[in-house]
Symmetry: C2
Subunit: 191 residues, 2 copies
Amino acid sequence: MKTMQQNETVVRNGVDVTALMGAIQAISQDTTLADFVFRSENKWMDGGHNRSMIRDFYGVGSDQMREVTFTMDADEPSVLLGFDRGANPVEYILHALAACVTTTTVYHAAARGIRIDRIESKLEGNLDLRGLLAMPGATRNGYEKVVFTMKIEGSGTPEEMAEIVRFGQSHSPVFDIVSNGTMIDVRVESF
Amino acid sequence: MKTMQQNETVVRNGVDVTALMGAIQAISQDTTLADFVFRSENKWMDGGHNRSMIRDFYGVGSDQMREVTFTMDADEPSVLLGFDRGANPVEYILHALAACVTTTTVYHAAARGIRIDRIESKLEGNLDLRGLLAMPGATRNGYEKVVFTMKIEGSGTPEEMAEIVRFGQSHSPVFDIVSNGTMIDVRVESF
C-alpha cells in the first residue's frame, strides 16, 4: 500500500530531484544506462548558411526521440560574407558553454538543496581571422581565449554560490569538451 | 572611368569571392582588421532550460550589430529531467562543428574555383553520463569521441573534394577550439 511519503517528489530549481536521485541509483546498479550517444545532421544551404537537425539520441539503454525536431541555422554576418541567417559557428560554441555550465550548476545545486534564484552569463571569445583565412600570423584558428562571466544568486552565501559554480564547471560536459579538447574523427564520403 | 570588368564580382558557392579576396588584401595591409571578438549572453530560465542572445561582435576595427538578435534555447530531454524546450548543450557542439567545417570548406573551395553542389554531414558523440553526475567510473565528463561523416559533391574528383574538406577542417575555428582545447576563464560574480 502506497503512503503519501512514497508518492512525494522534490522539485528544486525546476529539477525533479527525486528522479535525479533515482537515475543515479539506477546507473550505480547498471552502468550501461550511463552510455549516451548524441546525434546531429547538417545540410549546407548556400554560402555560409547551413542547417542542423536534431531528432534523436541513444541513452538509458535505447534510442530516444526528442519530442520535437530541433532546427538550427548557422550563417555569418555581412563582414564575413554571410547574410545573418543565423548565429555563426563560434557563437554557437559560446552558447553551448554557457548552457552546459548553467545546467550542470543548477542540477547539482538542486541535489545539494541549494536554491538558485538567478543566473546570467556573458561570454566573449577572441579570434584572429587570419587562421580561418589560411593567412600567416595567427597563433591558432579558434578562440585564443574565452572569458565567461557568470552572475549567480540563490540561497547560499556568495562563497557557497561560487563554489557550486566551480563544481558545475568541473562536471560540465561542454566545459570539458572545449577546455580539454576532444578527439574528432572526420570521414569524407561521396554521395 | 569604370569599366564593366572593374564592376564584376565573382560569386561562387554563394560566397562573394571578390569580397573575400578584398578582405584578405585589406588584412594583409592592416592585420588589426583580423581581430574579432564574438559575444553571447545567457539567462537561466528554469531547470535545464536557458536561453542565449547574440546581438553584436567586434571585427574589422569596430563593434558590429547583427541584423537580427539570435535567440537560442537549450534544454534537456525528459530522461535527462528536461522538457525538450531546445537542443541540449552537447548537441549544440555537434551543430557548431558541422557548421564550421562546412563553411570553411565552402569558402576555401570558392576561393580555389571549386564548385560545391552538396554537403551533408552526420555527427555522433559518445558520452558517459557518470561524469556529469559526479559518479565514479567515467573517463571524462565530455564526449569520449565525435565521429563526423561528411558527404560532399562538386566540380572536383572525389579525391579533390576530400582534399578541400581536409583543408576546411584544418582551418576551421570550431574544429580547432574543440579538437585542440581552448582556455576558458570563468569568473563568478554576485548580482
